[in-house]
Amino acid sequence: MASSWSLIKRSRTLIHHKKKLAFLGIGSAPTFSSSSSSPFMKRPCAASAPYINNHFRFLRRFEFTKAEAAQLELQHYVTDDDDNNQVIDFPGGKVAFTSEMRFISESIQKRVPCYRVLDDNGMPMKYSNYVQISKEMAVKMYSDMVTLQTMDSIFYEVQRQGRISFYLTSMGEEAVNIASAAALSFDDVILPQYREPGVLLWRGFTLQQFVDQLFGNTSDLGKGRQMPIHYGSNKHNYFTVSSPIATQLPQAVGAAYSLKIDGKSACAVTYCGDGGTSEGDFHAGLNFAAVMDAPVIFICRNNGWAISTPVEEQFRSDGVVVKGQAYGIWSIRVDGNDALAVYSAVHTAREIAIKEKRPVLIEALTYRVGHHSTSDDSTKYRPIDEIEYWKMERNPVNRFKRWVERNGWWSDHNESELRSSVRKQLMQAIQVAEKAQKPPLSDLFNDVYDRLPSNLEEQERLLREIVKKHPEDYPSDVPL
């Protein structure tokens, strides 16, 4: 089941970075092909190219010499149109020159194709290439997708009933959440945006723990410090959700760099939405990841909407996948509602990131079925039938279910049992969480610094004095 490939070693200097595409094709492993159109590539690279065994040392900027520059390959830059092989030498490497003034079009004629394994009915497509999964894996994946779906609908209602202050759902993105988590190892560190609770669920965060965070009670791992859905757990290698968009992208590169220095066989995985790619941090993160050779996977959930901003108003590029090449990063576009495709892509990306110590960008095309959050009513800016269509016909959970059922691994009985059991557990967890105490007063002051500083000690002391003096002003059900 292991996928294998061989990457032609690339030449690398501080200022010039040119990718050679790889081929593989052993067994059922996915292939990287040069079929994605690129303005420069008129001839695919042959495995027998003369440069295959050249591997250049990392050259420091000031040591770059003409001799070393001469070793850089030209072949890629030469097209059938050019008569001569003359090149110009500039910082950044040699480029072929052309007498034809031709602007690169703002978009290629054909959009980058999207990798998918199952069709809309959950049937594996003809000639589909994917990483096989076992029955146990498939059943766990499906169960977690159902659990996530159920969590979302119940918690959303709980917010609507006024019992929690806020919630945001991952509806429509269950496959991205669960399948990506399933393809990773527990050692991989996750830096989420905020629509990836499924990853934490996969890793074993209990329903009770989720609910405790939502209610901000004394059992909350976050000690009631944050709004709902800002989960975090060191034990599960899932960094606490932070609200500002895309800040986790360069941070993931830092974490990946640290993993590399530590020599760990693990990578950093970070998520963002289509909107997040507009932030400066997206540029900084991807650029840096490439320059630093950081083992990080960027998974962009392109779900079509950033609150009310549709992707047409977010960027004018062909989605997010094309941006990867601009930074010198391996990229792939994947059907985010196809659990098997997501699994295969993430599984392979992980191997690339760790073995080759380089970043990978995955654009998972999907659709945000729910509103942005409980503070949003998306029917105000998009048609209801569009939402319904994606909720019913393009539902990733149902699609995967058909595949699992067809393999004989799931039945209607399993289905009803699972759904009612999850519902029951959730209801119970909510009851427990709601009745639980709120965090104590001391949690107001600790963790600002590693150790409580004297000014906060004093403020706490003063506060307790006041509470003692005026107990009627202090809520009786909050411990001190």
Partner: protein, 369 residues
């Protein structure tokens, strides 16, 4: 203490216009103390901390190959290699975010900003991520990161290269903010900052990099460390307290010597730590002298002096014999022309006049309005 006593004794003899004397003159008086520039102090502190803890690494623009924009990181790339001294692309937001991420994971980055003015391009990572993460994650994510670089006005660099950020960062809980003056401060505080488990903003001063200070054998020892949150009384006095940090400490010491000739004994406090502020030392001093002048280079509104003034009013109001005098930079973006620049930053004369006003040796400001 011995070093500063010799220091001031020698300065009186020299009567030099500059902040600090020439090295050769000093040597005539000192017998045991060595000399070290602030640059050397910072460099040696980084070197020793990197050697002691393999998790410490440096990151910033030009810190490696170029030996540091101000040569603070000179020689460190050669000694520790490119994995521990990282030259970064020009993206403060990028490398600050990366530093924070690395710190989340468990490394101890020291991130250099070419000047703190550029830190504004990364301030979200510093405040929303570094400062708040330990609290928001309930202690699960600690951020042992140091942000360092020159802060405040240099000479002739204009508005976007001259702002002092002490007040901005010091207002944020979760951060520690330090600002050294002398080489001893630089060594001790930087080492403390690197060893500290919390995020620290370390505000240096470009004009002080080349200044030489005496350092004792204790300071030169690799285990030397100064406590965070303790101010230093650079000059003891009994008539008026002058608080200052960074370059202004040198000015304040000069003011102390000038006032001494006129019979006013000034106590100069080198804050060293802006957050946490050493309120007890400041208040103890004001209770002794009953008069306070706060000095800073930054903008006056919501500045460090404003906080010190409030602290003194809250804790030692009854001890004040005069209103608190606050000396700060002019409330304008820093102009470039040398004559205008000179008028936009505090000068020694301004501080002297303020001290005299506090001591009622000249007409109070209100009466002249």
């Amino acid at each position: 203490m011995l070093a500063s006593f010799q220091h001031s004794k020698m300065l009186r003899a020299i009567r030099h216009k500059n902040i600090l004397p020439a090295i050769s003159a000093f040597r005539a008086f000192s017998s045991s103390a060595k000399e070290m520039t602030v640059r050397e102090a910072l460099n040696s502190a980084l070197d020793e901390e990197m050697s002691a803890d393999p998790k410490v690494f440096l990151m910033g623009e030009e810190v490696g190959e170029y030996q540091g924009a101000y040569k603070i990181t000179k020689g460190l790339l050669d000694k520790y290699g490119p994995e521990r001294v990282l030259d970064t692309p020009i993206t403060e937001a990028g490398f600050t975010g990366i530093g924070v991420g690395a710190a989340y994971y468990g490394l101890r980055p020291v991130v250099e900003f070419m000047t703190f003015n550029f830190s504004m391009q990364a301030i979200d990572h510093i405040i929303n991520s570094a400062a708040k993460s330990n609290y928001m994650s309930a202690g699960q994510i600690s951020v042992p990161i140091v942000f360092r670089g020159p802060n405040g006005a240099a000479a002739g660099v204009g508005a976007q290269h001259s702002q002092c950020y002490a007040a901005w960062y010091a207002s944020c809980p979760g951060l520690k903010v330090l600002s050294p003056y002398s080489s001893e401060d630089a060594r001790g505080l930087l080492k403390a900052a690197i060893r500290d488990p919390d995020p620290v903003v370390f505000l240096e001063n470009e004009l002080l990099y080349g200044e030489s200070f005496p350092v004792s054998a204790e300071v030169l020892d690799s285990s030397f460390c100064l406590p965070i949150g303790k101010a230093k009384i650079e000059r003891e006095g009994k008539d008026v307290t002058i608080t200052a940090f960074s370059k202004m400490v040198g000015y304040a010491l000069k003011v102390g010597r000038i006032l001494a000739k006129e019979g006013i004994s000034a106590e100069v406090i080198n804050l060293r730590s802006i957050r946490p502020l050493d309120r007890s030392t400041i208040n103890a001093s004001v209770r002794k002298t009953n008069r306070l002048v706060t000095v800073e280079e930054g903008f006056p509104q919501h500045g460090v002096g404003a906080e010190i003034c409030t602290s003194v009013i809250e804790e030692s109001f009854g001890y004040l014999d005069a209103p608190v005098e606050r000396i700060a930079g002019a409330d304008v973006p820093m102009p470039y022309a040398a004559n205008l620049e000179r008028m936009a930053v505090p000068q020694v004369e301004d501080i002297v006049r303020a001290a005299k006003r506090a001591c009622y040796r000249s007409v109070p400001l209100a009466a002249t309005a």
